[in-house]
Symmetry: C2
Subunit: 220 residues, 2 copies
Amino acid sequence: MPENAQKEQPRRRQARGERRVAQLLEAAASVFCTTGYTAASTNAIAREAGVSPGTLYQFFPNKEAIAIELGERLVHEMREAYGEALAPVDPATPLEQAVGAAVDRFIAFNCDHPVFFALMHGPDVPGRLTEEHDALHATLIGRVEALLSSFLPDAPSADITRTAQMALGIYMAGLELVLAREGAERDAYVQEIKNALIRYLDPLVGDRLGRPGLTRTPPR
Amino acid sequence: MPENAQKEQPRRRQARGERRVAQLLEAAASVFCTTGYTAASTNAIAREAGVSPGTLYQFFPNKEAIAIELGERLVHEMREAYGEALAPVDPATPLEQAVGAAVDRFIAFNCDHPVFFALMHGPDVPGRLTEEHDALHATLIGRVEALLSSFLPDAPSADITRTAQMALGIYMAGLELVLAREGAERDAYVQEIKNALIRYLDPLVGDRLGRPGLTRTPPR
DNA sequence: CCAGAATGCGAGCGACCACTCGTGTTTGTC
DNA sequence: GACAAACACGAGTGGTCGCTCGCATTCTGG
């Protein structure tokens, strides 16, 4: 069998088709964002995009594929964002700065793409997307673990993992609070995430050289 | 119209009926827990309880009412649990102790009733339950705010609220991690929640009298 | 300019699900 | 034992939703 071990030959697309796909994904993002994945109906997505249900199925084989495609594009963008945000950290940089930069980037991404949180955090996401989310989550945990290990080379790996999970959990909890706010209040919550993470992590990494960690409010 | 301004006269129940209700709620808890509210079918709940769908509707007017009843019973139990856990706090008690006791109680409750987290945290819960959840959440926030205020009488209320939200968020994030673990690992995560909360809150309440907060590793 | 492909439409199909109803069984009461 | 009310059943009903299909329209290569 010489041709086509591919599961799908990427059927030829015209410019109009590409535009429709983008239009449909945008509409899907909007609908998923407000109603969640399961509650979102494909007819609603088509209506939001201003096309007929039949047209939608011209470009996506089924409802799940819409979420998959959307998720993949978001994860791709996310990889770029977190690649910059968590990849190279000089152990000499102060904790405040490292945490602040990482949080700012991730928060910015999630504020730009609120669908991401909705899709990746809903309990009703289709199986294929869950895998994608788990993979991303595992990568993130791995990065944080690596960072922590570089600060605490002697700590048992179970402790490192637990700390990484907790740190990511704190960030996620804060993200949820941030997304529910706007303007100045939102900024204040972003700062609060940084406070929480720094206070959580500093006693660990601050001790690595006998350094007394964060400067506390002096006795004055 | 002399009689019945009630929306429902609580029709007379036999002992058998009470048993069925309990049986159905237990089955519903199990199904909600594994599939979430929306994905759970009333037929599945009836099957899990070993009765016919018709029987289920003998005791509940609709699917939402099942979740409502389940939620109300849980919230009722919860009120008792948190009443003990957060109500009276002597400002002299050390932070570790207060946080530890509160966390232990709430964790124990959620481990005993995993449905609670599933029902109250799913994005797909029916409107009526959301109100219930919001009310509970508001009460909890209020309690934490009151506690914080007693430690920090001079702090602006916006800061207090933000800190309370963040503290609750940290707890929730930890709870999710805890529920996904078992045995010794679970205990370690419970401890980690306490660590996170103490480190987050101590710099605030530790300063209330010029006390230098948690003893850090001394400069030696 | 003209085949043929890509795009677009929307009524409709099949499956699923919350919920009902007619009928039969058990239980409490006199 | 008799009567009514509570309980139990499960096939059926109406509605929703994912998805299809036949057909019309627009685009592209030759």
